[in-house]
């Protein structure tokens, strides 16, 4: 079964534990500025929105990379950057419509979410279940259920 990250921003409290877990897994340090999942705060709306790569089926970053440094992990479906191959040209960062692949000055390469090889740390760290890792074909079910609950009220 292919799985996807399911993000429910309405549950998020903005604590950044997901960012810490991500940076620790990938970089070995607790450093939100190196996280591949980012939580955005909309203070005046009172909202927090975690955001990361959705692993597009037709991934623009992958197609656009001139040195074929981005490949598909066939087990997880993640589009992964082969760091040895990346030349840091940043074309992928322009191609991605969502901005979820970014350049790192220190390494001169790009970095993106790779689903931690199939056991995403952000989902494990999140205390509110705003991030879960679920069947890729069912990421809408939570919301469907909520609407279904609404509709039975009028029965």
């Amino acid at each position: 079964m292919l799985k996807s990250l399911q993000i429910e921003p309405e549950k998020c409290t903005g604590c950044l534990q997901c960012e810490l877990a991500c940076s620790y897994h990938h970089e070995g340090v607790f450093n939100p500025s190196k996280s591949r999942i980012k939580v955005f705060t909309f203070h005046h709306e009172g909202r927090f929105a975690p955001y990361t790569c959705t692993q597009c089926a037709e991934a623009w970053c992958l197609h656009t990379c001139p040195v074929e440094a981005i490949t598909v992990n066939l087990t997880t479906g993640a589009k992964e950057v082969a760091v040895e191959q990346c030349v840091g040209c940043k074309v992928c960062t322009i191609a991605c419509p969502f901005g979820t692949i970014n350049y790192q000055v220190e390494t001169g390469k790009v970095a993106k979410c790779d689903l931690c090889g199939g056991d995403p740390e952000c989902a494990k760290a999140c205390p509110t279940s705003a991030i879960t890792y679920v069947d890729a074909e069912q990421t809408g079910y939570q919301r469907m259920r909520a609407h279904a609950a609404q509709s039975i009220k009028s029965l």
Partner: protein
């Protein structure tokens, strides 16, 4: 390890920023944040100096766990000498800036001297610069925050700033970070403004590493998170209702100070409670509360984000207050609400916004306005003196108007900015000031919660609930239930809470974690992260060492055991209603035993053997 080992010293007079190594020996004895910075302060300043003179220093300090994934470890404290109390001041704040200091590579920043014109500190990792702040001097924290973000074109910049109240010398101004988190008490913001330092803007990208045993640390951290996620207060009460979960509870036990402590129960409590914040309101069908919010790394997420009802009189023609922002916590709702007799939730939310926008401690503000209301109603202040404001208990209009004036240091607001003690002395009725050592009381009436009377009287920063929160035991039964109406055993209880809290505050953790965590949950996290031998016992001893060091500072500053006292009202005027009806606080029954347990003389002076046992 876990400390970065770097201290930034900023000399505002000379306009220099220099890096120096952290004193490791002190770190091993005082842990970090509150304890360690107090050690620096006591070594570097004469406790007798004028708190608002350039001789005072102001330290922003993180704990060794700040910035790590230990739950609630996003905190930092501001340590200085208080202009409100003349004691040591240590005010703790959450949000995100503590973690950012750590990510920039600093354990603490020591500010000394005074700049000749307004400046702010810009900190980007190693790079530290003092830059002119003339354009934001005279502006609110929110305006300064926006200006700094624009100026540096960096949305991730974390900012702590002082508001107009501090610039104008209000004695209970705090330092606001991340727009609505505050190092709130004892006038630490007033000290910052007295140095012509408007703001600190920091961006750290280096990360927090330096963990002694990462595997053991992550195990201890995850075990700790689990305990918080399962404890009733930290998993349900605080996320759902915030600290406001206490409003109805404390009112029922008859410990809700009302109208400047004339009463102990507030008839309007339900209208300004957590439950009321969840109720859809008539104007727009939405509740006051938009969401809960966490500080950095926190599993609990007690923070409130609120809006004011459209059409409410407070926001007519003021579009800047129509969005969501930091909402009411229990202390603010109590001080601005029951203590002034005001039960208008929207008015309180607006006043709370102003406290965040211009950096006023809502506890001291509400309590001082409450004292002013009693002065007014008893004829000690006239309507000419208030500038036409009818300062009656229960008047939301008066509360709002006075807050607006205090925020800017205008009109009668300047007098409110003196704090309750100086205000009541000025108008000839010192007995109406509900303060200890010049600091206003928080939201628990010590006639209905006896232990809190002792905790207030002996707190090293004047009346305060966060130095020894025996409410936890006396009301909530955590970790064990004690009877709030009796004094037996309270001396030991207060001491135990004071010592444990000093250690928690020095680690970088939030004291609310202790609604579920015991020291046995905390010690393994510190031990795995830091050099040194950190056990439950060594942490409690560290807490006791910190307590005695703070006490010594205060005694050297000229305070005496006679300052460990409560206002007459709480010792002589019995509670009129509720379970504590007929009771006063029996401080005299608890204080001698407390001194004895502390190893202090009958006059409250630490004995030589106590200080040497603790190596203070």
């Amino acid at each position: 390890m876990a400390w970065t080992g770097n201290v930034l010293r900023v000399n505002l007079t000379e306009r220099t920023c220099s890096k120096e190594p952290l004193n490791k020996d002190w770190a091993l004895s005082y842990l970090g944040q509150r304890g360690l910075a107090t050690k620096y302060l006591t070594e570097e300043i004469d406790p007798k100096i004028d708190a608002l003179s350039p001789d005072n220093k102001l330290i922003m300090a993180t704990g060794p766990l700040t910035g790590t994934p230990a739950s609630t470890a996003g905190r930092y404290s501001v340590i200085t000498k208080s202009p409100l109390t003349g004691t040591v001041a240590c005010s703790n704040s959450g949000g995100f800036i503590g973690m950012e200091f750590k990510n920039a590579g600093w354990d603490m920043i020591i500010f000394e001297g005074k700049a000749s014109s307004p400046v702010y500190l810009y900190l980007e990792n190693e790079k530290a610069q003092l830059l002119p702040a003339d354009e934001i001097w005279g502006q609110s924290v929110w305006q300064a925050d926006e200006w700094l973000h624009n100026r540096h074109q960096d949305p991730l910049l974390r900012i702590a700033a002082v508001g107009r109240s501090a610039e104008q010398g209000c004695l209970f101004s705090g330092i606001i970070n991340d727009l609505h988190r505050t190092a709130g008490r004892s006038g630490v913001g007033t000290v910052m403004a007295s140095k012509n330092l408007k703001a600190v803007a920091v961006r750290g990208t280096r990360g927090v590493g330096n963990i002694k045993d990462p595997v053991a640390f992550m195990q201890a951290v995850n075990a700790g998170k689990k305990v918080l996620a399962e404890g009733p207060v930290t998993a349900e009460g605080l996320p759902t209702y915030g600290t406001q979960v206490l409003m109805n509870v404390i009112n029922e036990v008859g410990a809700m100070p009302t109208r400047n402590f004339k009463d102990v129960q507030f008839e309007g409590a339900a209208k300004i409670s957590a439950e009321a914040m969840h109720e859809p309101r008539p104007s727009d069908g939405k509740p006051n509360l938009v969401t809960n919010a966490a500080c950095f790394g926190c599993t609990i997420a007690c923070g409130r984000i609120s809006t004011i009802a459209g059409g409410h009189f407070t926001i007519t023609n003021k579009p800047q207050y129509r969005g969501a922002s930091g909402g009411l916590e229990y202390e603010a709702a109590w001080a601005l609400g029951s203590d002034t007799g005001v039960d208008d939730l929207d008015a309180l939310t607006y006043v709370n916004f102003l406290c965040n926008e211009d950096g006023m401690d809502p506890i001291s503000l509400g309590s001082t306005i409450a004292a002013a209301m009693e002065l007014y109603e008893s004829g000690a202040i006239t309507i000419e003196q208030t500038g036409g404001i009818e300062l009656k208990f229960g008047s939301a209009e008066a509360l709002v108007k006075l807050t607006e004036l205090t925020a800017k240091g205008e009109g009668f607001g300047r007098e409110i900015g003196l704090g309750s003690k100086r205000l009541c002395e000025k108008y000839g009725r010192p007995e109406l000031s509900m303060t200890v050592k010049g600091q206003e009381f928080p939201a628990y009436d010590p006639r209905g919660i006896q232990g809190m009377g002792l905790a207030y009287a002996t707190s090293n920063r004047g009346a305060c609930h966060l130095r020894g929160y025996t409410v936890s035991s006396e009301i909530m039964g955590l970790p064990e239930k004690t009877d709030p109406l009796i004094t037996d055993g309270k001396a030991a209880l207060v001491k135990a809470f004071q010592d444990a809290t000093a250690a928690v505050d020095s680690a970088g953790l939030c004291v609310f974690s202790t609604f579920s965590w015991t020291m046995a949950d905390i010690a393994p996290q510190i031990a795995a992260a830091c050099d040194g031998d950190w056990t439950v016992d060594s942490l409690l001893e560290t807490g006791e060492r910190i307590w005695n060091l703070e006490r010594k500072f205060n005694l050297d500053a000229g305070l005496t055991g006679a300052d460990d006292n409560l206002p007459e009202r709480l010792l002589k005027e019995a509670a009129k209603t509720g379970p504590a009806k007929g009771k006063v606080n029996d401080l005299a029954k608890m204080l001698p035993e407390y001194y004895q347990l502390r190893g202090w003389t009958a006059d409250g002076i630490p004995k030589a053997e106590t200080l040497s046992r603790l190596s203070v």
